[in-house]
């Protein structure tokens, strides 16, 4: 039988067998202050835990100095693979490529720099052993500036509301999960950051563990205005990737009906003005508003139709359920 072709070389087919207990996926960028220290600390911890491991350093060439540092580490470290991407893709894509190459039963992701004490990681393993599928880090004693802390807290509060998942620090890059959790649903685009939310939505058991941040790290002061826009869009994405997205017409259709309805109300008011008060309405901008509302309503509904069409024509790819087990 012919082997199935993979669509792009980046998304290699992961062998289903677990070769290692843990795959540690590390994103290499300029914030990775010390690749050697990251490696040795985590490797030491995993050895102490008695778990076999592999390291995957995913490097998208952000920093040439880092490239040589990782190469030097590769020469001496054991069980370390480097995955080099041809150009900068950002953390989400790099992480996902890392996942697709991982051969461990568990995947541990580390952000660009070790924000936490390595000893904190063992708490996450304890949680996994309790039977959870994904354990998310929750950075306490934040070393961020006050402003960053406030806006991060607000963001996470909104995520909890929108996603209905009880998590406090979804953006924490310290995550430990069973590989099956990422194999069962498509992680695309920037979705990686919502991994815990997506996993919880699919019925995986998600927990979080408080991890202390290392004091000595001096993080950059202010995220910039762009982050607000991005986070706002993140929230919109979260809303629209929920389950009701399987029926876009229900959403866009109701929106359309509401818009058309309010347009009707406005225009009926104008008709009333015209025929009861006998005033001319042909010069009133309100008439434009009423008509515009109706037109936008019609467009919203037609976007719902397009959404349904996209869903159905691509329904082979829709995973509307996840099977845990088949017996008999």
């Amino acid at each position: 039988m012919l082997e199935e072709m993979t669509e792009s070389p980046a998304v290699a087919v992961t062998p289903r067998v677990d070769v290692f207990d843990v795959s540690v996926v590390v994103y290499v960028d300029r914030h990775l202050e010390d690749a050697t220290r990251t490696y040795s600390q985590v490797a030491e911890l995993l050895t102490r835990e008695g778990r076999s491991f592999e390291f995957l350093f995913v490097d998208d060439g952000t920093d040439p100095a880092m490239k040589s540092a990782v190469a030097a580490l590769h020469a001496v470290a054991r069980n370390l693979r480097i995955i080099r991407l041809p150009r900068f893709y950002g953390m989400s894509v790099a992480m996902m490529v890392g996942f697709s190459h991982a051969r461990g039963g568990l995947i541990l992701t580390l952000g660009s720099f070790m924000q936490v004490h390595p000893s904190e990681i063992s708490k996450m393993f304890d949680k996994i052993d309790e039977g959870f599928d994904l354990v998310n880090g929750w950075r306490v004693v934040r070393v961020d500036s006050r402003l960053n802390q406030i806006q991060t807290a607000a963001y996470n509060w909104l995520v909890r509301r929108v996603a209905q998942v009880d998590l406090h620090d979804t953006n924490c890059t310290l995550k430990l999960f069973k590989r099956t959790a990422v194999e069962e649903f498509p992680v695309y685009g920037d979705n990686y950051r919502f991994l815990p939310v997506l996993a919880a939505r699919q019925g995986f058991r998600v927990a979080e563990v408080q991890v202390r941040q290392r004091r000595e790290i001096n993080q950059h002061g202010f995220y910039g205005v762009g982050i607000y826009v991005r986070r706002l869009l993140d929230l919109v994405t979260l809303m629209f990737t929920g389950r009701f997205v399987e029926r876009p017409l229900r959403f866009f259709g109701s929106l359309g009906v509401m818009l058309i309805g309010s347009g009707f109300v406005v225009n009926f008011y104008l008709l009333y003005v015209k025929y009861v008060y006998e005033q001319s309405i042909s010069q009133r901008p309100l008439l434009i508003l009423g008509t515009l509302l109706m037109v936008i309503g019609v467009q919203s509904a037609s976007i719902g139709l397009i959404g349904e069409l996209i869903l159905f024509t691509h329904s082979k790819n829709i995973q509307s359920y996840h099977i845990e087990k088949v017996v008999g």
Binding site: L249, L305, H314, I318, I323, K325
Partner: protein, 319 residues
Amino acid sequence: MSKAPALSIVVPLYNEEECAENLFATIQREADKLGKSYEIVFVDDGSSDRTFHICEGLAAAHSELRVVKFRQNYGQTPAMSAGFQASRGEIIITMDGDLQNNPADMHKLLAKMDQGFDVVSGWRHERKDDFLTRTLPSRIANWLISTFTGVRLHDYGCSLKAYKSRFLKPIRFYSDMHRFFPAIASSLTGARTAEIPVSHFPRKTGKSKYGLSRIFLVIADLMTILLITRFLRKPMYWFAILGFPFLVLGAVLLVFSISQYSFSSEKSVIVPSISFLVLGTAFHFLLTGILAEYIVSTGETDGKSIIAVKTIPMAEGRG
């Protein structure tokens, strides 16, 4: 069981620990009478009680039972869909997991199927439910679905149905589609549908999903089914039809305002503006139609590839 059975009985279960065993025994007893090889596929839709545990025990003791366990509760359509994909029989019979349907009616469905139909739906013609809250809304819904899809059935909501599996397998079902399976199968894969009266027991626990308040959702769902069953084969044409009234209205307004500007002293700015807006909407539909053509032509599930075609091979030694 290595050989594929002739018949697959698909039953979604959600928190049915009390009647799962009884259900299995009843189905088994009635299926044995049919004189066909069969399998029973239970889909545990993420029950929070002991349903799966009980089913697992039954499956260990009876080789004809398969159990598919969902990670969480997804609803009727995904459960049915997973059941379809897991079943191996040429004929698939579906029914409710709460014994509202009578498994003894299975032979009636099969007898009707033998008359040359591909989908046979049950019709609970003497409903044991409250008229105002359940029977009336469901009558309205059935009438709407029948009228819009052109597949006339009295009781779309009845779970007891029989399908030839080749008319179901090419279609992927998602969201809340289970009510429309016969309509979708009829228009997409080309199934011939029929219905027969079946017996019906009142629901013991739980609430119906389609009350009067949900009639709006039925309409939205209906639009979707309409889209799938009609638009899929010529999207441009249907979007053009949707845009046509706007074209006419816009043109009328435009002619009106041109004549106003030519002959009348009252010159309105608003009326021509509105005519542009309405004409713009007609244009929007045209563009949407083009977009729809792109989508359908690049999608994997188009209108042709899923028709359940039967090819009759060339007779040997001729031609």
